[in-house]
């Protein structure tokens, strides 16, 4: 059970949040121009990294805001959280 520092509300229990998968996958602006392969890449293909991963979380039982998180999936250590639209604080 993580303790997550919501960028808006502060430290809250994991049970108030919902994970939303890999971050920084931008919805293509012109989907019709994409091949089936390119579209599938956006839609389904995931890095699914073992190690430091950038991902989306939603404070669904709190302020309902989405934000990004950097987390090491091999040991579940949260490295940082940051708001949508912000640059990741670590690489």
């Amino acid at each position: 059970m993580f303790l997550i520092n919501c960028p808006f509300c502060g430290e809250r229990e994991q049970s108030e949040f919902k994970a939303g998968g890999e971050a920084h996958i931008v919805r293509p602006k012109q989907p019709t121009e994409l091949s089936d392969d390119e579209w599938a890449e956006y839609l389904f293909m995931r890095k699914n990294i073992k190690g430091v991963q950038f991902e989306r979380w939603n404070h669904v039982h709190g302020c309902r805001k989405w934000f990004n998180m950097v987390r090491d999936t091999s040991n579940d250590q949260i490295k940082a959280v940051y708001k949508m639209g912000e640059k990741p604080p670590i690489k």
Partner: protein, 195 residues
């Protein structure tokens, strides 16, 4: 350091379950998978009390009794990617909640051991038994929580696929290309828990 060998002329079949993406990434391949912690637990052993596997979609529970006497209870997966082989307590609590709704008599039974495994889940909750865009590289993955019962059959079909570089007609639908072409095999409702 062991000698690295050039395997490019050979065929490689990957059956790495939760670590499928890790292997695929080595070959520069992305898979439509997310690896998540799956929780399971056993009770202390007791004399035979239930003699079949019970699965309930209504309350999301799975329970059977091992030949040693433990109640073996499958819980769900967390909603985030993790390779830590742990998981959150909430999932275990939710599952036991369902178990006690089905079987209030188990309230005084005790959890002996809980553990988390990593499962590789496809967006349509169906497996992949398929060749890939890399010649000679094959994957049997994406089984989520369900693979253990299908292991012998899937192994057979996987061997067929590797040997012929073409799927058997039984696993044709489980081609990786379905995620590109849009022919998903929806199985989200197929198991009581963990999809």
């Amino acid at each position: 350091m062991k000698q690295l060998r050039d395997l490019s002329k050979q065929k490689i079949g990957v059956v790495a379950a939760g670590h499928s993406s890790v292997i695929a990434n080595m070959a520069g391949l992305k898979l439509p998978l997310e690896s998540k912690p799956l929780q399971a637990l056993v009770s202390e052993p007791v004399k035979p009390i239930i003699d079949t596997v019970v699965m309930s979609n209504a309350v999301h529970a799975y329970v059977s009794q091992s030949d040693k006497g433990e109640l073996v209870i499958g819980a769900g997966t967390d909603d985030y990617v993790s390779y830590s082989q742990k998981g959150s307590h909430d999932i275990v609590e939710g599952t036991l909640n369902a178990i006690l709704e089905l079987y209030p008599i188990f309230s005084r039974m005790r959890m002996l051991r809980q553990w988390g495994g990593i499962v590789d889940i496809c967006p349509d909750a169906s497996p992949i038994i398929s060749k890939t865009s890399i010649k000679g590289l094959y994957f049997n993955c994406g089984w989520g929580t369900g693979g253990f019962k299908a292991t012998p059959g899937s192994g057979d079909l996987f061997a067929h696929t590797i040997a012929n570089d073409e799927p058997h007609k039984l696993n044709a639908a489980f081609n990786i290309n379905r995620f590109v072409s849009g022919d998903l095999v929806d199985e989200h409702g197929a198991a009581a828990v963990a999809h």
